[in-house]
């Protein structure tokens, strides 16, 4: 898809405005161009086979950019399928009566169009005009991307939003990241303290976008410095940079924890359910900010050792007797700024001389005839046949039978207000089955360290426990402590409520 914007209409026959005025206009035209793909979605939905008029494509697209930005990780990007899955509820809400398959189709269509799958560059191009310094009117191409695909671990492809997209999304983000973030946080604090939570949530979300953008900037810087062991001033500028970033993280961490405490208070004291819900969401957002800061910090701490290892590898090798060509400094670096038509001559020369040789393939006509007449080999769709697995019945070698377990469980099903001694339980078990005491003893010993947390998590209402009060066990078969075995009642419901609250 190519987005073509008309050149600004010239109503006055006045001479070209100064380059400075034109510069501002060009910047705004470019910003405007970034929104064009979104409008274009709504225009082009009519061309889709089917009735897609009910879907607000621009809204879905903005939501998709939001989702990708928020799910972008430090290293990779957002997962394609995950974004589609998270878009579905919004799309379904727009047209609840339509089939789910259509919702998914819409989600994929929007995402594909934001990536612009159809073009080679997978990007957009807008054309705009400016006046050059000599007053000549020049039409220029502006190339941009909204969502780009980046390689991830294991050869996967992930999505990242570009700076242009973040700017489209949040607007006016093209400012100093640090100061903008401080401003947003101060605003957030004030809003929270005054109880204006709706505004506070908006501010918090903006702060998170900025956090992501900040992490992205730092990721790039680190990536660059990791490659440039010698090109980087390891004496001054890099340590300064890392220190600054660490200070920043520490500062933000303190700040956001303070906010978190404030919002928690606001949430607990809030009367209206709407305010309570909003405050709870805010807690999640700020927590996410803190998580991202922590992630950033661990990256920063890794940078030092990495530099030293690379330094060792490269700096302490014996110098070679003769010198070769500096491929980067003498070829790559001078070629990149050249116009592409000139640069091509250099890369062509390198290609022609640098690819070595290929032995030309010549065909015998006899072979060709045979090759052409050979019927194509049927491709095996199913692969080799699976051998029928030969299953061998494993002998039942359990120490205790199901009935014994049932009997022991019944024996240990004690009322919660009447615990019993292990000696009594063993004696009772022995009366019914000589093997049963072993199982009862095992279960009792197991209950000496009951898994309280697990029981709570699984919502159990009662739990077997055993306590040693120092009494010796007097039994013909077992020795040790005569444990007191009892049942404790768990208040699972209250515990669940507590846990939710604690977060």
């Amino acid at each position: 898809m190519s987005v073509t914007l008309p050149a600004p209409a010239k109503t006055l026959p006045s001479p070209a405005p100064g380059p400075a005025a034109d510069e501002g206009l060009a910047r705004r035209l470019r910003a405007l161009a970034c929104t064009a793909p979104l409008h274009d979605l709504d225009v082009r939905k009519a061309n889709l086979a089917g009735e897609y008029g009910t879907y607000a494509m621009a809204e879905i697209a903005l939501a998709a950019i939001d989702l990708v930005t928020l799910h972008m990780d430090f290293d990779t990007g957002a997962d394609h399928e995950q974004i589609v899955a998270r878009l579905l509820p919004r799309i379904a809400a727009q047209a609840p009566e339509r089939p789910a398959a259509e919702h998914e189709r819409v989600a994929r269509w929007v995402l594909e169009n934001l990536v612009n799958v159809g073009s080679v560059d997978r990007g957009f191009r807008a054309i705009y005009g400016t006046f050059g310094p000599d007053g000549a009117y020049v039409r220029r191409d502006y190339d941009f991307k909204l969502i780009e695909e980046v390689p991830g671990y294991g050869g996967g492809v992930y999505l990242r939003t570009t700076d242009e997209a973040v700017n489209v999304l949040v607007g006016a983000l093209d400012t100093d990241v640090t100061s903008a973030q401080i401003a947003a946080e101060v605003k957030l604090e004030v809003l929270v303290s005054r109880g204006r939570l709706a505004d506070a949530q908006l501010a918090a979300e903006q702060a998170r976008y900025r956090t992501v953008q900040y992490a992205e900037t730092l990721r790039r810087t680190l990536e660059a410095t990791r490659r440039n062991v010698r090109a980087v001033d390891w004496l001054r500028s890099v340590p300064d940079m890392i220190e600054e970033a660490l200070d920043h993280v520490a500062d933000r961490y303190r700040h956001e924890n303070a906010i978190l405490t404030n919002i928690r208070k606001a949430r607990d004291e809030a009367e209206e359910p709407e305010n309570k819900r909003r405050a709870a969401e805010l807690v999640d957002i700020v927590k996410d900010c803190i998580r991202r800061h922590t992630q950033l910090q661990s990256r920063l701490l890794d940078a030092g050792p990495l530099f030293r290892a690379e330094q060792d590898r490269q700096a302490f090798a014996a110098p070679a007797p003769r010198s070769g060509i500096d491929l980067y400094g003498q070829l790559v670096a001078p070629v990149l700024p050249l116009p592409v038509a000139d640069a091509r001559r250099v890369t062509d020369a390198f290609f022609a001389a640098g690819t070595g040789l290929r032995t030309p393939v010549s065909v015998r006509v006899a072979d060709l005839v045979e090759l052409l007449l050979t019927p194509p080999v049927e491709r095996e769709h199913l692969g080799a046949e699976m051998p029928e697995p030969d299953l061998i019945a494993t002998p039942d070698d359990s120490r205790f039978s199901e009935e014994q377990l049932a009997a022991a469980t019944e024996l240990l099903d004690l009322p919660h207000d009447a615990p019993r001694r292990l000696s009594g339980l063993l004696a009772e078990a022995r009366r019914s089955d000589p093997d049963l005491p072993y199982l009862v003893a095992l279960l009792a010993v197991h209950a000496a360290s009951p898994a309280v947390g697990t029981a709570y998590r699984q919502g159990e209402e009662r739990l077997l426990f055993a306590v040693d009060d120092g009494t010796e066990l007097d039994d013909p078969e077992f020795g040790g402590a005569d444990l007191i075995v009892g049942t404790a009642l768990l208040d699972a419901a209250a515990m669940t409520a507590d846990r939710t609250e604690a977060q």
Binding site: G324, V340, F350
Partner: protein, 299 residues
């Protein structure tokens, strides 16, 4: 030619050569010509290693010990339109295609689209240049016969992208409008062509998108592997490779100089004092060539 006696002491005490040693001034027999041609034929199989083939190793030794045979083999190679780079046990009979030779690789055969699209043509060439630059990041690495370079496909892409980004930032600092004029695509700055091409893309069959920059770099790496210049060592980061001695020779003696000559013809004179340009720029000095030179990072 490198001194190989230290690496292969066995050669000096090996049995007498199979072919009769021609006395000085004796005429060449058809058998000698056949042997010389066979040696060149071995050289045409760049992935064949001398250490793996006894006959190849024998012929290489004969080339070194018998000057007349050596001249004969050189003549055969030249007659076929080949350039002899080095004949040694480590690199084998390292020959490469001369200009306009039938063995030369043509860009049009290498990638179809390049005929129509000049941007694509540039990207494919740049991919080869960038692989070499990352494989031999310092001049010493290119000069040192024992150096083995290592690259990854994603690493090469990231490296070029980083260089492009620096140029973009610098253009922005200078307040330049780098958007090219619509009617003169050939004037677009080279780095922009690379920067705006996407680095990867999802495809229906989970293969690398051929038109993306990692696709282009991956193609170059695979092609160089077929040329016996790289050896694939793993699948991480889009594919990891290490260089062979032959690649070093090819870049040092052929490609580097050819590209330099072309650059000089364009009036660009990259200056080097023999040290790596990958150094921090002097304070406040806008270093033209290498403000952000990068060394490859081997994880």
């Amino acid at each position: 030619m490198s001194d190989h006696h230290a690496e292969h002491p066995a050669w000096s005490e090996a049995e007498a050569p199979a072919a009769p040693a021609p006395s000085a001034g004796s005429h060449v027999t058809p058998a000698d010509a056949a042997d010389a041609a066979r040696l060149v034929a071995f050289g045409l199989q760049p992935k064949l290693q001398p250490a793996r083939d006894a006959e190849y190793a024998d012929l290489l030794r004969r080339y070194r010990e018998d000057p007349a045979f050596g001249r004969l083999a050189d003549a055969v190679a030249t007659g076929l339109g080949l350039v002899v780079l080095e004949v040694s046990p480590r690199a084998g009979m390292a020959v490469t295609a001369g200009e306009d030779s039938v063995f030369a690789v043509r860009m049009g055969d290498y990638a179809r689209r390049t005929a129509a699209d000049s941007g694509d043509r540039f990207l494919h060439g740049l991919a080869h240049l960038a692989i070499a630059a990352l494989a031999f990041p310092r001049p010493e690495d290119l000069a040192d016969d024992g150096y083995v370079g290592r690259i990854t496909v994603n690493g090469v892409d990231a490296f070029v992208r980083q260089a492009c980004r620096r140029l973009e930032e610098r253009a922005e600092e200078l307040g330049e409008n780098t958007d090219p004029a619509s009617d003169a695509p050939g004037l677009e700055a080279a780095w922009r062509v690379y920067a705006r091409r996407s680095s990867t893309g999802a495809t229906k069959d989970a293969r690398r998108l051929a038109g993306s920059t990692t696709g282009i770099v991956g193609k170059a790496a695979a092609f160089l592997t077929d040329s016996g210049f790289l050896q694939r060592t793993g699948d991480d980061s889009g594919g990891t490779y290490r260089t062979t001695p032959r690649y070093q020779l090819q870049v040092r003696d052929m490609a580097g100089t050819a590209a330099m000559a072309e650059l000089l013809e364009l009036g660009v004179v990259p200056v080097s004092d023999g040290t790596a340009s990958l150094l921090p720029p002097p304070d406040g000095d806008d270093l033209e060539l290498a403000p952000d030179a990068g060394l490859p990072f081997h994880a």
